[in-house]
């Protein structure tokens, strides 16, 4: 199959071109030996097919970031498996000069090339006209077409050009015998770039016409001024975030409950039609709830990326990054970390996935590592239960709810810890990559929905297939640990329950409790009791800490099981926990233990789904393990300090 590389500067509408060419026939893979995603797709046209590889956006063939390195690796090595038969360079027709730099580099490599003058509509609005014949004369052998990929204009011509056999033509390289590997030296590269721009300037003078030359085509609009205003800029950003969170918390819960319910029903149904046995247990207790546990994240991920997609497509995101950069700098982060971190306050999974827009690997990695410290929605049930348990329902100064204040304090603790840890990490993680902020600010425009929906499709595929495998494996392991015990231990313990003391449904709740207590998980919880005692926790809390590794909110359900309270009976659970006494008669859930447990949940990496997605995004187990360990240590120490202060 013909291999076609799609290359271009960022913000040239390259993604729109790629989506128009390949539609739903896209997949994400790897470039050999590097951690950069390789997006490729198949183009079908008139019975012919070609593989289209969408390379990361870059301004030059010489790399300044890991993403750009891939372009250099492939194009500097004709023996590379991804070396193209044909290159399509997407150019912004409204900003040809800077776009031609990359184009002339590719042209000089003498690979067959098609130049696509995209966004011809925007250029037209700016009064910029290009004479294609002049351009063709300047680059003999190049085929050129004009497109507006957002509207789908010019795509048919491009598809035909891709499959057409080009007429033999003499290339007239700007730099003869151009070999990118020769110029591995920056001063050489600089003089090459200067030389190219001198040449490009001549071409632009001959072929590009500004219709109103007295007035700059690019200027600051009213919307620019408003979105970067010292007051209104932040107000607008805050309002947009508020709207997104309202959407996520009000809408996402509906499909999430549906998924939860459907998988529970499906597990029950499977259990009722299959013969009793280990296989049925594995299906109903491990695999089906595990699958549900993967899919239940999708509504949040989709909604968040839908909102972020609109912000990005319209060009607003670049303005938000612009006004937030100065505020993030003291912590070693830049403006691009803001959106991933804020997204993590809903759920760390989309937060981690959203870090892909950060080109610098070190800044991206640090953002990934601290993102789960932001308090996500799964912590809310844990905090709510514990606050109701240990914080009195009183008001400070008559209007400040103590309970509300505590919840707010937990959120702030997470936020400030994320920033503090980022500050520390910038001092420890070393990189050879240069750090810079240079970011193009695109013009405001209407979103293209096709691009947004294709990106949602791609993100869900990555989450379900790649992170999903890990999540499913861990949930089956957790289920096995919580359902089986050594030898006859569980059966013996269940047999000893006095049925007369637990009438009706209470008996089943008691059996569940005894089973969990005597499972491997229960034994593990009891084993770690000495370790967690300095935090004010007993073995029952220990078991819930272990089971909630599946997801933080599982803590509440595990607590209910252990105290043999009916699931979802929160009042009953609260009452039982309040009554719970140590052997010496003091309550187990004192203020000190409650606060210590909340602080533990602020820090601990109690989410296998996040670990799975971090593994996917960093392409190694190293970073999820680093994250698990550092957050675990932070959780342990902070909870211990909290407990010692308040007891």
């Amino acid at each position: 199959m013909k291999k076609v590389a799609l290359l271009g500067n960022p913000n040239t509408g390259k993604t729109s071109v790629f989506n128009r060419l390949t539609g739903l026939n896209q997949h994400v893979g790897n470039f050999p030996g590097v951690t950069v995603d390789k997006k490729s797709g198949t183009l079908h046209h008139d019975g012919q097919t070609a593989e289209i590889i969408d390379f990361p956006g870059t301004y030059s063939i010489y790399p300044h970031s890991n993403d750009e390195q891939v372009v250099y690796d492939v194009f500097s090595n004709p023996r590379h498996p991804d070396f193209p038969d044909l290159t399509v360079v997407v150019l912004d027709a409204g900003n040809l000069e800077r776009n031609l730099l990359l184009f002339t580099q590719v042209y000089d490599l003498q690979i067959p090339v098609i130049a696509v003058l995209n966004m011809s509509d925007v250029a037209g609005r700016k009064g910029i006209k290009t004479d294609l014949d002049q351009l063709k004369q300047a680059f003999p052998g190049v085929r050129i077409c004009e497109t507006n990929a957002r509207a789908g204009f010019g795509m048919k011509e491009l598809k035909e050009l891709i499959f057409e056999t080009p007429a033999q033509a003499e290339f007239r390289p700007l730099i003869a015998d151009y070999n990118v590997t020769d110029s591995d030296n920056e001063s050489w590269q600089e003089s090459e770039t200067r030389q190219r721009y001198t040449y490009i300037k001549e071409i632009i003078t001959a072929s590009v016409r500004h219709e109103n030359p007295t007035q700059a085509a690019t200027k600051a609009s009213v919307w620019d001024k408003l979105t970067v205003h010292p007051v209104w800029g932040y107000v607008i950003f805050a309002l947009i975030l508020l709207l997104i969170f309202q959407l996520i918390f009000s809408i996402a819960s509906l499909p999430m409950d549906l998924i939860d319910g459907a998988f529970a029903d499906f597990a029950n149904w499977t259990g009722s039609v299959m013969p009793e046995g280990v296989l049925t247990d594995l299906l109903t207790g491990g695999i089906i709830p595990g699958l549900g546990g993967v899919l239940v994240f999708l509504p949040q991920i989709l909604l968040l990326f839908f909102c972020l997609g609109i912000l990005e497509e319209t060009g607003y995101l670049a303005r938000a990054v612009f006004i937030m950069d100065r505020l993030m700098r003291p912590f070693g982060l830049n403006g691009k970390s803001v959106v991933p971190l804020i997204s993590s306050a809903a759920c760390a999974i989309p937060g981690v996935m959203a870090t892909r827009t950060i080109p610098n690997w070190k800044e991206r990695l640090i953002t990934i590592l601290v993102a789960p410290l932001m308090s996500c929605s799964a912590r809310i049930p844990v905090f709510t239960l514990l606050i109701a348990l240990v914080i009195p329902n009183k008001y400070l100064f008559g209007f400040l709810s103590l309970q509300g204040l505590t919840l707010f304090a937990m959120y702030m603790l997470g936020l400030f810890s994320a920033l503090a840890v980022a500050w520390v990490m910038t001092r420890f993680i070393k990189t050879r990559e240069k750090s810079y902020f240079l970011l193009e600010i695109p013009e405001f425009k209407a979103p293209r929905w096709g691009n947004i929906f294709l990106s949602l499709y791609e993100k869900s595929k990555i989450f379900v297939w790649e992170a999903g495998k890990v999540i499913l494996a861990i949930s089956i392991l957790l289920w096995a640990l919580a359902s089986y015990g050594p030898g006859e231990r569980i059966q013996n313990a269940v047999r000893k329950i006095d049925k007369t003391a637990y009438p009706g449904e209470k008996y089943e709740d008691k059996v569940a409790s005894v089973k969990l207590e005597n499972s491997y998980m229960g034994i593990l919880g009891k084993t770690i009791e000495p370790v967690i005692r300095p935090l004010g926790f007993d073995w029952k809390i220990g078991i819930s800490l272990l089971t909630s590794f599946a997801a933080r909110e599982v803590f509440v359900g595990s607590m209910a099981t252990i105290y043999s309270v009916h699931q979802e009976d929160n009042e009953g659970l609260l009452e039982t926990m309040r009554q719970e006494k140590h052997p010496d008669g003091t309550p187990v859930y004192s203020l000190a233990t409650g606060l210590s447990l909340m602080v533990f949940y602020v820090y601990a990496m109690q989410c296998m789904a996040t670990l799975a997605i971090v593994k996917r995004e960093t392409k190694s187990w190293k970073w999820p393990i680093v994250q698990l360990v550092y957050m675990g240590i932070l959780a342990y120490l902070s909870a211990m300090i909290t407990y010692q202060i308040f007891s």
Partner: protein
């Protein structure tokens, strides 16, 4: 009289005199800051940093420290 771009006022058009030597000089050159290029600060972020610079036909946001690697003169 020449000065560096980071200290320029918004709304005036300048010409690039040179990019000062640094690790970013090849990157800045690629972004279009070659000698003689027309540039203009369109607007600044709150606290005056970063700044949005019109480089020919496009807008680039850059930190003040990065803009100060570019020496400009009045047009």
């Amino acid at each position: 009289m020449s000065q560096t771009l980071g200290f320029c006022a918004a709304g005036k058009v300048f010409k690039v005199k040179q990019v000062l030597p640094s690790v970013l000089s090849s990157k800045l050159l690629e972004m279009g800051f070659y000698t003689g290029k027309e540039v203009e600060i369109l607007y600044k972020a709150p606290f005056g940093d970063p700044i949005a610079v019109r480089v020919g036909d496009y807008v680039l946001s850059m930190r003040k420290s990065e803009a100060n690697l570019i020496e400009v003169e009045q047009n």
